[in-house]
Amino acid sequence: MASISNVLRRPTSTTGVWGWITTIDHKKIGIMYGVSSFTFFLIGGLEAFLIRLQLARPEHAVVSPEVYSQLFTMHALTMIFLGVMPLSAAFFNLVIPLMIGARDVAFPRLNALSLWIFILGALMFQSGWFLGGSPNSGWFAYAPLTSSTFSPGNGMDFYTLGLGVLGVSSVAAALNFIVTIINMRAPGMTLMRMPVFVWMTLVTSILLVTAFPVITVGLIELFLDRRFGFNFFNPDAGADVVLWQHLFWVFGHPEVYILILPAMGIVTEILPTFSKKPLFGYPVIVFSGIAIGFMGWAVWSHHMFTVGLGPIANSVFALTTMTIAVPTGVKIFNWIGTMWGGNIELKTPMLFSIGFIFLFIIGGLSGVMHSIAPSDAQQQDTYFIVAHIHYVLFGGSIFAIMGGIYYWFPKASGRMLSESIGKVSFWLMFIGMNVTFFPMHFLGMDGMPRRQYTYDSSYGWDFWNLVATIGVFLLAAGVIAFVHNFFRSLRKGEIAGNDPWDARTLEWSIPSPPPEYNFAEIPIVNSRDAFWEQKQRGEAGEQGTGAGYGEEEHHDIHMPSPSYWPLVMAIGLTAAAYGMLYSYPLAALGAFVTMVGIYAWSMEPVTASEDH
């Protein structure tokens, strides 16, 4: 039967470059997310490094003001959308199916699509540097600065189109994980027996699919204004530029919970393992996570306290913001309760997790200070906010992610990362982080505004700025140590075995790295921490020893086959985005390629050469 999918024969290889490009295996996809996003994290770090060099001394001129504006804008956008979010996605991909006893996600090709749209969209986003200028309006891109009048050139179009494309990737992935988590759990794994990381992924995914459409609409409106002269943010036509701020922050606030909930989930897995104790207050932690997800919708205008919404609006949002600190605090107490009385093992993942708790508390405290609207009038748009952001996002998300990397690297690669380098890296990052960001509290209170190109010595900001820049060197050293650790361990790391940490959840019951089909037999789950319970009962037996997982065995397990079409669609979508910027024929071609991809995909069976 002649069909499009026969014109290009279905790829079958699972090795080699082609194997990686056409893979739909969640483990490979997770690794690709991890490697690409960590690379973008380094780029974002480089941008930060340049910013700090520029600010190290007063009246410095390391870069021009125009470049500086692009640097701080792209630093934020890169770290958030190309760094933390896809790093979280890397963990979702690597770990979630294993934790719930599944062989893959619900829609493996959709999963690959998300990956490739991310990679191509991220490259498009960064290409602005070489194509006439990156976005330069600050990451929240307030109107009317972003109009074509005040931001001529293509920079802000890379913003609207790039983020729009990335949004498709995120929403598709989130839909995939919602279905996976709800519908693919091992028999016996009720919702309240799922690991907390799975819960946090579910809440995060729900936030993603509901919040992203709002920013997508905002981006569409901005794009239409800029490129076609629409009036959404045109004051002459009676528009209100504050609408952009609302649309942005209605998305933006759930977004920060999207950034932190997976991190909290990771820490919640690591702490019990290295305390040799079950999680303290599992139901409460789960409900707090859900509560944070809900309440996150009610606080957005705390980013707008100084816009002039009026005392009633300000009071309402101040109260809701203070309230959301409660479930967060509850989680912190539960984490401490988990460690209390436990047999603590200070391995690197645990160090990062404890560091997370400490640093996130500091970030949370400054956050609660912001929630007091009148006080925020002084803090808003100063380095005090910058300090808060970095304590929660670096001390919070990044530290948790680093902990997760050390924790699950053995599972993904079969080898251990070096503990000694890990500890060095941790301490460098921990000290560096505090040296860099703690002084920003002082700078902010002293009045130093954000997005400031340079400053005069008479303000008295010289000393702490210099200290902050020195801290960046320590941070960088810590990150470099990690990168070295990573490459070294891939070649020479100690062999991990199935369960190097004596852990609690299902992913540790199978070989490292897992075979393509994950589980030789889907486990039956009778409790939380199912694997731990199995071990205590002495039943960890066959799955735990790796027997029965040989290469030649298990031909009876049919896995979905690789496919080109996700990549083809991603190429089409990205081409269409470039086309909207440069050439409508290209846009049409991109749309056509995307359509071809959709049709070919839908006609392609899930598994090649099906025999039913």
Partner: protein, 205 residues
């Protein structure tokens, strides 16, 4: 507690097919998309530029109620086409789904006519004023969704000649139908908020 779905033969935790869960989650997400467009429209309603067309000057209730009727009837056709395929009746399915697509295309025709009237007869374009901007964008994106739907339905029609749509109780048609009905209910909301209420409140029929 894993139930084998009748549809696909593999077990899922809820007994529901993955694809149905996916489409419903997606529709929940689309509520937020249209919600944001509608919020923009409502927030800006009444902001005029003197000397440019206003809603009450251009909105045409008779025409738009007809197109609303057309779209509502298309939902009926859609549900009948799913009914046919789920019973294995491919021939009837083809008739009903083509009718749905034709009615959908008719709705688009009405929209195209309306857009042209606004632009050519009244001089109202998205650039003219805020009403133009918000009206064309909101109804335009709805129309784009209808267009995607029509293409989808025609594709299913064509596919019925070479593939088996009766598999899984017509799940593929079921999913397209859910999308199609969703686009219809969004139009119900838009028709009420953009057309009926402003005209009704002013008494300016």
């Amino acid at each position: 507690m894993a139930n084998i779905t009748e549809n696909t033969g593999h077990e899922t935790t809820t007994g529901l097919d993955h694809r149905k869960l996916l489409i419903w989650a997606f529709l929940g997400s689309e509520c937020m998309f249209f919600g944001s467009l509608i919020a923009t429209y409502l927030v800006y309603y009444g902001q005029g530029t003197p000397g440019t067309p206003t809603p009450l000057q251009v909105l045409d209730i008779p025409t738009t109620s007809t197109s609303t009727f057309v779209l509502l009837m298309s939902s009926f056709m859609m549900v009948m086409s799913y009914n046919a395929i789920s019973k294995g009746n491919v021939k009837n399915f083809r008739i009903w789904i083509m009718c749905t697509a034709i009615l959908g295309a008719t709705f688009l025709g009405f929209q195209f006519y309306e857009f042209r009237e606004f632009a050519v007869h009244y001089g109202l374009t998205p650039r003219t004023n805020l009403f133009g901007t918000t009206f064309f964008t909101t109804t335009g994106f709805h129309g784009a969704h209808v267009t995607v739907g029509v293409i989808w339905l025609v594709s299913l029609f064509l596919y019925s000649y070479r593939g088996d749509l009766t598999k899984d109780h017509g799940l593929m048609v079921d999913i397209a139908a859910l999308y199609w009905h969703f686009v219809d209910v969004v139009w119900i909301v838009i028709f009420t908020l953009v057309y009926l209420i402003p005209v009704g409140v002013s008494g300016g029929t």
